[in-house]
Symmetry: C2
Subunit: 217 residues, 2 copies
């Protein structure tokens, strides 16, 4: 089997702009990617491809391959699938709460396809045993798209239910979950930048300055 991680660094994660500068967002996505790569390796996944538009020197030391493709997410992943006859695990670069145990469970599932839903209709991980004839469709309600594709191909499907894996980091509030449930580089980065503030509702993310000011410090 192979794992492929679609990855974009330049001006990544624009919805985090309210709390992180462009440079910080580019650092942060690299840390999240490193956590995902670490996790795959710990789970025994040896062949890891980074599907991207540029090579990144900082990742060479991690022993991953680069697959360069200028096209959009769907086209580049579909082209990748066409060229592969091994089982493929497609994992997003922004799911740093993933642990090795999750990966082990997913790749040892008996079903033809495993879909890990993300918050808000997304697909955070997709494991495809027989990539021939399979295609992805990440835009729109990709969770529904992928369920339909599997059904139309008459393949067996497992929906893998995990809070940690459902948490892709797109919006400031998502960083709360890294601080509460994360590990590795992304946890360290989040703790360097932010604090949590709690009341009766869901915990909120604030920076160190806001935290002190709210506490009257």
């Amino acid at each position: 089997m192979r794992a492929v991680i679609p990855y974009k660094k330049e001006n990544a994660k624009s919805r985090l702009s309210p709390v992180l500068s462009r440079e910080e967002r580019e650092q942060f996505v690299e840390f999240m990617l490193k956590d995902v790569i670490w996790c795959l390796k710990e789970a025994g996944v040896k062949d890891i491809d980074i599907l991207t538009t540029s090579k990144y020197d900082a990742l060479y030391e991690l022993g991953v391959n680069f697959v360069l493709d200028e096209r959009d997410l769907n086209d580049s992943v579909n082209n990748y699938l066409k060229k592969t006859d091994q089982p493929v695990l497609i994992i997003m670069a922004d799911v740093p709460l993933t642990r090795p145990k999750h990966i082990k469970e997913i790749i040892s599932s008996e079903e033809d396809v495993v879909i890990v839903p993300g918050k808000g209709g997304g697909t955070n991980i997709l494991f495809i045993r027989k990539p021939a004839g399979f295609h992805v469709c990440y835009y729109g309600m990709s969770f529904r798209n992928h369920c339909t594709i599997v059904k139309d191909m008459k393949q067996s499907l497992k929906i893998y239910d995990s809070f940690l894996l459902s948490t892709d980091i797109d919006e400031p509030q998502d960083i709360v979950e890294i601080i509460l449930h994360g590990h590795g580089f992304s946890l360290k980065y989040a703790l360097d930048k932010f604090e949590l503030e709690s009341g009766k509702a869901r915990v909120k993310l604030v920076n160190h300055h806001e935290y002190k000011s709210n506490k009257g410090l």
Copy 2:
């Protein structure tokens, strides 16, 4: 064992006010509660207590008990725990994505305590084998509070990782998950009121009127 569901109907779920009127929110929480009760019964839980400040006629037919307590969530649950010597499953009334399989897994866990984290630092389900000496602390980062309480009592702990159970319905965006992954009364209610709209980011909730207007219909 017993299950206890803290429940408040009057002017419930104020953070859903942007999309539902007070009357609608009161209907909606009752539907979510009914889904949770159905789920417990399907999982074989026979003794179900609704911990609340008033009796609700519409629930009598479901064969549940009412435990009336005017105090706040922490005090009323802690008082309930003091009076019980059986294992207790505390489940929130606003987790309608719960399925019987989850409940069966949680109550058959070997650990002394099972905590099901909710989004944003919450605790959506808590299973306590030996309630003697245990206390809950739902305000603030209740997930962290409960982990600390278990550790201080030197009890064994399982953190149950589920996207469906982590989804408590507090904010309009949470209703998206009911439409995508829900069932029962709450799914029917959500579909009666809302549509999903998708682009490249997370799926958004809109009402039927907005949906038509956005589509130019």
